[in-house]
Amino acid sequence: MSASRALDRAAVLAALETVNDPEIPVVSVVDLGIVQSVIVAGGHVTVAITPTFSGCPALEVMRDEIRSAVLSIGADSVDVPVVLDPPWSSDRITPGARDRMRAIGLMPPPAVGRFRADPALSLRMPPVEPDEAVPCPFCGSKDTVVENPFGPTICRSLHYCNACQQPFEAFKAL
């Protein structure tokens, strides 16, 4: 099959770039860092993913969309296992995705080097105390307060900027 012959890892990754988080449509599953591995064996493709938050209801939607996207570029069959090791960290969100989040008024989490490729290091914990003041995505001020650690989705928190007097949301650091 000619389509299968053209299938390689780069083509699969390009297809995955078109699958967006249904709750943050400016960010793809690759940008979000939830793709753990991509294996192409002939016409069979395995895309292992990991949840951001373990109760994320969008995960099943993303699995279905990943399957469709990879089938649409000519794979004969696709597996999308969910794996936990190494656990996801918000450090994996790409710089481009962070800019696009900011542009829609969703403050991205700080990248503080919590995640490393070394699986042992990735078990290091983020700080338990509240992170430093979350900057406002609109005016950049750090004169902000947490209104509630829970927002419209389980990965977002609610904040208020005292400087520009705007409420805003942030993607939680993990």
Binding site: F53, P57, D85, L123, M125, V128, N148, F150
Partner: protein, 282 residues
């Protein structure tokens, strides 16, 4: 994190002799007796999370303010996610049925949750205090499990512990503010603490085979964890102007399947839809 908390965590890992690489670095490497102990521990923790999540979900649409309606609904989602992670470990590595069957097809006598999480929804003061007691216990238990040499346990506990951070932030903010707001809010929190605390002690009742796991240095024993938890509870109560009552050992029993009369109605509500057609796809 305070210096005290850092010190407590270090002492915890040291007392338990954990984090030392040994022959038991994966679930598949464990002899049968230890596998059964791990299975019982995962079931107890999964059942805790599942039922706490169900009780949280009972606040959806009823929260006293919109933000708390959302917060309890979000924490419910988190807990269901945690239960799923733990049920899936049992399913993928220890021969248990799939997570849905574990959650929705077991009768009351087969549940190993602490009694705390099966108590009825109560008022908002009770919901807050129960969450605070539960979240502090889970933070301590997951923190300890993160030190396990068994990779699957350490990874799952790390994931769950990270997410607990936001529950702890939530609980502390509300418990300390309401504890020191008015006489009415203080008295309601104090009454809730007296009602919830004895059943919360169930969270540290050992699951079957826990002593053998602790002896093999796979997890810490229940006593050391319970004392770390109690210190954290007392600290929070102090900050909120509340008094921690004495524990009532007679309340223990959830880990042995000895539950209150509240579990059966809870399961009827939680499992009814699934049991009406277990083969349905959603």
């Amino acid at each position: 994190m305070s210096a005290d908390a850092v010190e407590a965590r270090r002492a915890l890992a040291e007392a338990a002799g954990m984090g030392v690489p040994g022959p038991y670095d994966a679930l598949s490497a464990l002899p049968q007796a230890l596998r059964e102990g791990v299975d019982a521990l995962l079931l107890a923790f999964a059942d805790d999370a599942m039922l706490q999540g169900h009780r949280d979900a009972e606040w959806t649409g009823l929260g006293p303010i919109l933000e708390e309606d959302i917060a309890f609904s979000s924490m419910a989602q988190d807990e269901l996610g945690h239960a799923q992670v733990l049920y899936r470990l049992r399913h993928e590595h220890l021969g248990a049925p799939d997570p849905d069957a574990q959650a929705f097809l077991r009768d009351a006598a087969a549940w190993r949750n602490a009694r705390l999480v099966e108590l009825p929804r109560g008022d908002f003061a009770f919901a807050l205090v129960r969450r605070a007691l539960f979240d502090l216990a889970k933070a301590v238990q997951y923190d300890a499990l993160r030190q396990s040499p068994v990779r699957e346990l350490a990874v799952a506990a790390t994931k769950l512990r990270q997410e607990k951070k936001y529950h702890l932030l939530h609980d502390r903010a509300f418990v300390t503010r309401l504890g020191r707001a008015t006489a009415a809010s203080h008295d309601r929190l104090q009454a809730a603490l007296e009602a919830a605390f004895p059943a919360a002690c169930d969270l540290f009742e050992p699951s079957d085979g826990l002593a053998a796991l602790a002896a093999a240095k796979l997890v810490p024993g229940a006593d050391v964890l319970r004392s770390v938890w109690l210190a954290a509870v007392c600290q929070l109560a102090d900050d909120a102007g509340l008094n921690v009552p004495a524990a009532d050992p007679a309340a223990l029993g959830g880990r042995r399947g000895d539950h209150t009369e509240h579990l059966e109605p809870l399961l009827a509500a939680m499992q009814g839809m699934f049991r009406s057609d277990p083969e349905a796809t959603w």
